[in-house]
Symmetry: C2
Subunit: 363 residues, 2 copies
DNA sequence: CTGAAAGCGCTAACAA
DNA sequence: TTGTTAGCGCTTTCAG
């Protein structure tokens, strides 16, 4: 195997710009200009060739760390999600990657496992690593913390879990409307006792989903029974709900993760879904599409949210690095519309309205 | 809100070690020693306090990029997976994070979408970013490419997709045995016409799964019918298989992603699983556990593989950075044993042997 | 115990 | 068109 490092440095050590300069008989500056590509530096085509050859010979690739230090930008963006194993987030990440497609950005990833301490540590770590921007798809921080974050020199966009804040760019879906749609659909099926299995109240979207539930119930003149709002471990919550004197005939669950557990709970107890209990989830994770699952759910557009978040962030970064110095534009808030996807678990006839592309593969 | 940057630099600019040094009335070198923590530098406790105060006042956090340049290590490890939306990989990533738990490592993530070109680009990008190590859970490279990669100064471990190579540390499961178990189980159910839906042949594990299938069939004196080995789009492949003159009564599918599509295909065609067609998958992705799915599958231990890969890698990095210079140990190959997890789709009675912890949440 | 100085690999004025 | 020089922010000898 021929030695790929003909320079004087020991094997396994990568060539530097100085090696290239020496090999090409030019200065580092010239090589650097050659690398810069974009800026219209003038450099003799003959020199250009010599440099290209040296680079090729030495298998040189610029050290991005050194470039980062000098350029004050790393072409890296951080993505912090709540739970990498919840299929909602890989989908969101895929959206981010999609949007960043051709660009030179690389993703620094972190999963908080829903732990605020881990979230804080990840933010710190990414800031120290000088990411150019940060997409937060896990936010348990309060406004003060967000504002401190926004005060730094990295651009931040809050995705999906976004707070109410107007401090930072935000990409969310309309959780309130989504929740209303779900509950209204259940009302349309004739249900009157509709429960809500809520998510942790320290996560903003869950608060809106509760509110949407309450509004829809109130509009139907069915509000007031707080016993119908449960939370915590799905199995336990369902047990409590179903042993109520006047148990619910339907439940709107705050996300699909929990909704699937409700389905499993019912399967385990021999409770027929949707006959004995109708179930509607939230997120429309791909699993719900499986014919053996058939979960009706509000699509929270994970991929689109990720894509949009990345676009907004890229725009910010571009603006920041633009030559023309100007005040940053005020935070931008994008609200995507969710969409109720109807399947079996709500009581609709199978296939009635399920318009999923049947040939699309699952993952 | 009080200004968090009392130094002279403009808001939004982070304090540097020089700012701290100035504020504490010491030199950068001393501050750096203070930061180093571990090495037993002697520094007066009074100075120590002044520095600590300055750091606190200035909200100083060292620039990891600059540290990286100086230290020649970034405390970052790259993870390249084949497809972030295939639940197998988030699980593997979770294993990596688990193992890296307390340490200061951060993950640089990339998903290749099974495209060799993207894989190459990601490797390049991560190398340029000077990751300390690389976990490749997507390898379509050949030995030559791997060897070139191993020749660099980053430690590489091949996880799950590992080649046959002995050039790099590898953590895999015993795919051949796993496949044999699957097929033997089907044989035990009395099946004689067992098909195999194979994965892309350029991915090593899939080749072993085919081989395991062939061996098991041969051992049962059932080899020879190559028409039973299909590949490509699951729906099309199944259609072809089922229109054979002597169609299979069971199919061993190379991974759960495809197995699930087979299940959907059957549901769509009204083909009863397992009565008309028994199905066994590979990976034991959590989805298969759902009561509405019940997919019998060979567990490929994604989490354990991720964990082990991270441990091996961390060990390598530690060794490389150790003061005592020594020849690197030869590549280490870890082979984890897969495990057949039995559910409905193979023909076993539901619940018969499904020993999943029933209360474990899904994701 | 502390500091001066050199250097990690690259970029960006500014000269030449 | 090319080279010189001075950093980017931190670490690490090596002298005090």
């Amino acid at each position: 195997m021929r030695n790929r490092f003909p320079s004087s440095r020991p094997a396994g050590q990568r060539a530097t710009i100085s090696d290239v300069a020496a090999a090409a008989g030019v200065s580092k500056a010239t090589v650097s200009k050659f690398l810069g590509g974009n800026k219209n530096y003038y450099i003799a085509s003959e020199t250009r060739e010599r440099i290209a050859k040296a680079i090729e010979d030495l298998q040189f690739a610029p050290n991005a760390i050194a470039q980062g230090l000098s350029n004050r930008r790393t072409d890296t963006i951080g993505v912090i999600v709540a739970s990498i194993t919840n299929p909602f987030y890989p989908e969101l990440i895929a959206g981010v990657e999609e949007a960043l497609g051709g660009s030179e950005y690389t993703l620094l990833l972190g999963s908080t496992d829903e732990q605020p301490a881990k979230e804080a540590a990840l933010v710190r770590s990414m800031l120290q690593r000088r990411v150019d921007g940060l997409i937060m798809a896990a936010v348990t921080m309060d406004d003060a913390e967000v504002s401190r974050l926004v005060d730094t020199d990295v651009d931040v966009v809050l995705a999906s879990r976004g707070l109410d804040t107007t401090l930072a760019d935000t990409v969310v879906i309309d959780n309130l409307t989504g929740a209303r749609q779900a509950v209204e659909h259940l009302l349309g099926h004739g249900h009157r006792r509709i429960a809500h299995l809520a998510g942790p109240a320290d996560v903003v979207p869950f608060r809106y989903r509760i509110e949407g539930y309450r509004e829809a119930m109130a509009d139907a003149g069915l509000d007031g029974d707080e016993r119908l709002v449960a939370s915590g471990n799905p199995a336990e919550a369902m047990t409590a709900l179903l042993t109520l004197p006047d148990p619910p005939t339907a439940v709107f669950v705050a996300n699909d993760r929990m909704a699937i557990e409700v389905l499993e709970f019912c399967a385990g107890r021999g409770i027929e879904v949707p006959q004995e209990l109708a179930v509607v989830g939230f997120d429309n994770v791909w699993v719900g599409r499986l014919s053996g699952v058939g979960l009706t759910s509000v699509d929270s557009k994970a991929r689109a949210v990720g894509r949009k978040a990345a676009e907004v962030l890229a725009g910010r970064i571009r603006a920041r690095h633009a030559d023309t110095v100007q005040l940053p534009a005020p935070p931008e808030r994008t609200v995507l519309q969710p969409e109720l996807v109807i399947r079996r678990s709500c009581g609709c006839v199978a296939g009635e309205k399920d318009d999923d592309a049947p040939d699309r593969s699952f993952f």
